[in-house]
């Protein structure tokens, strides 16, 4: 993986987003197994929803994809994780560069207590951008992309924390998008938002398919139905989450192959 180079505008098209392939992924926290032997492929330019009840390992799977699991003491990730052709789980992997290519949005907006402008500038400068004009241009373009430009263009110097919940989450998206990630990981991005903001964010996510691969962990089956091309169901019997079923969302919801899937989708269990 190349070391960080200045952010340049990549031609956003599905061909540029890599395929993400997880093979025999097992995640442990100390002795406890959170995810057991999961193999999944995330196709470029698609939205995949990861479904399942609490404790099924959804968040563990997500956080392993950008090696955020490194932050958790005692966490071990075994198996293989390919970003395109490159193995992510190696010791020598440049995680800083990895997280440039794989962005993440969290359940609750976690903006820095700084101005809106600075929240967006900091990641750009951190990864090497120096040209102020280029930076300003990038910031404006990204804010337009997430639909925030009109709302914030007159208050760029004010604290980002003064925005509403929905606006903050969209700003988090913008902050991740300024780095032109190839993959975007989202951990229940709308669970803290009201229905209207949820709608706005969902529309945004669907449009983002044109420039990256999206992987969304969600509790909300209706949301998966609305936005996800593919879905994957994780299920745990108490000894670690396993992959139960995966496929086109419409197919999986319409005629699920596994009985567990059917039971979960109908709300009988989980």
């Amino acid at each position: 993986m190349t070391s960080s180079k200045p952010v340049s505008v990549r031609d956003p098209s599905p061909q540029n987003s890599p395929r993400v392939t997880a093979t025999n992924l097992t995640i442990r926290y100390g002795d406890k197994v959170a995810l057991r032997d999961v193999s999944l492929t995330f196709e470029p330019g698609t939205i995949t929803a990861i479904l399942g009840p609490s404790g099924s390992g959804k968040t563990s799977l997500l956080t392993s994809l950008n090696r955020l699991t490194d932050l958790i003491p005692g966490c071990r990730v075994d198996g293989s994780l390919l970003l395109g052709e490159e193995e992510v789980l190696r010791q020598q992997t440049d995680v800083v560069s990895l997280r440039h290519r794989v962005g993440m949005i969290f359940q609750r907006p976690n903006l820095f207590p700084m101005s809106i402008r600075r929240n967006l500038e900091l990641p750009l400068r951190e990864h090497g951008s120096r040209n102020q004009n280029q930076i300003n241009e990038k910031i404006e373009r990204t804010l337009v992309e997430v639909g925030l430009w009109d709302e914030v263009k007159d208050r760029m110097e004010r604290s980002a924390l003064t925005l509403s919940g929905g606006q903050q989450q969209r700003l988090c998206l913008a902050r991740a998008l300024v780095l032109d990630p190839e993959v975007l990981l989202l951990d229940e991005p709308c669970s803290a938002l009201d229905p209207i903001s949820t709608g706005v964010v969902e529309t945004l996510l669907v449009n983002l398919r044109s420039r990256c691969t999206l992987i969304v962990v969600t509790h909300n089956l209706a949301q998966a139905r609305r936005i996800a091309d593919k879905s994957a169901l994780l299920w745990s019997e108490g000894d670690g989450g396993r992959l139960v079923e995966t496929g086109e969302t419409r197919t999986m919801f319409g005629s699920p192959r596994e009985s567990v899937t059917e039971a979960y989708l109908r709300g009988y269990v989980g």
Partner: protein, 301 residues
């Protein structure tokens, strides 16, 4: 039987209501006495009440704060002593701040949560904060004055005080770091910030309030210290010309005037008033900052 219980409860209630009285009473007596006797040194004598008495009082105060002591301190002022005190504090903070901050960063951001080394360091800092100040004086004398050859000097005194305030600084800094929510660290990590970038750009700015509070409290603690300085920075009451010169701190001056100089009580009280007033300002500043710190934490919720 119920009657007897009520009698006992009544007695308890009375003792509880009475208990704060001697404490508050004696303390207010002390403060009142300090203010009265201390400012007594500045009131003009009956003969001098010619011009504006407020101006005269003001002049007397400035005179006291800047002039050199005369006749072993019975007369004159505390100018050189304030300089020495300031220098000792500067040495103390210049040494303690980087080490304290660095240790706090290491302990809270870079060592694993249950590391043995971390626990040992914390334990040793706890013990350090319980060491009596006179023992710090002994140590300072043996280590800085003799072993390192610094002799009785402002440098020795400052370095000894640095050892004393280190646990306080580290504890406050760690509090500051703890106040920064983990979500900030996660956000930075997800954006590809290296650990140290996160520390410098995200965590330190947000923890700065806690760090400043620690600095202020440490300064207050060092200012009040006497026993650790008697045998490290010395007794000389002249203007120091360098950090290697001996110089006495304000608290030592108060001690010397009241115990060793007959007739020195008046100036001892005046000096004590200056000392307590400075501490009051320092602690007020820390208090204001702390309330601002708490308000900021609410913003995260």
């Amino acid at each position: 039987m119920t009657r007897r219980k009520t009698w006992f409860q009544f007695l308890f209630d009375v003792s509880v209501w009475l208990s704060p009285l001697p404490i508050a009473g004696l303390f207010l007596w002390l403060i009142g006495d300090l203010i009265l006797r201390g400012s007594g040194a500045f009131w003009p004598d009956a003969a001098e009440v010619g011009g504006n008495s407020v101006v005269i009082v003001f002049e007397q105060i400035i005179q006291f704060l800047t002039a050199a002591p005369e006749r072993a301190g019975r007369g004159g002022g505390i100018g050189p002593i304030l300089i020495s005190t300031g220098l000792i504090l500067s040495v103390c903070m210049t040494v303690a701040l980087p080490i304290g901050l660095g240790t706090a960063i290491g302990l809270s951001e870079f060592l694993p949560v249950n590391s043995r080394f971390g626990r040992l360091v914390r334990r040793s800092l706890d013990v350090l904060s319980g060491v009596p100040s006179i023992v710090f004086g002994l140590f300072g004398n043996a280590f800085f004055c003799r072993f390192l050859g610094l002799k009785f000097s402002i440098a020795s005194g400052g370095l000894t005080l640095a050892c004393m305030v280190l646990p306080l600084l580290i504890r406050s800094a760690e509090e500051g770091f703890r106040a920064v929510p983990d979500s900030q660290r996660q956000a930075a990590a997800a954006l590809g910030f290296s650990r140290w970038s996160t520390v410098f750009r995200i965590i330190l700015p947000q923890a700065s309030l806690g760090i400043v509070v620690g600095l202020i409290l440490g300064t207050g603690r060092a200012l009040a210290e006497t026993a650790a300085l008697i045998f490290t920075s010395g007794y000389v009451d002249r203007m120091p010309r360098s950090l290697g010169d001996s110089g006495r701190s304000l608290s030592i001056h108060i001690y010397d005037l009241s115990m060793n100089v007959p007739g020195g009580n008046e100036n001892a009280y005046a000096s004590a008033l200056v000392l307590v007033a400075s501490l009051a300002v320092i602690n007020l500043g820390a208090h204001q900052l702390m309330t601002r710190l708490l308000k900021r934490e609410v913003a995260y919720a």
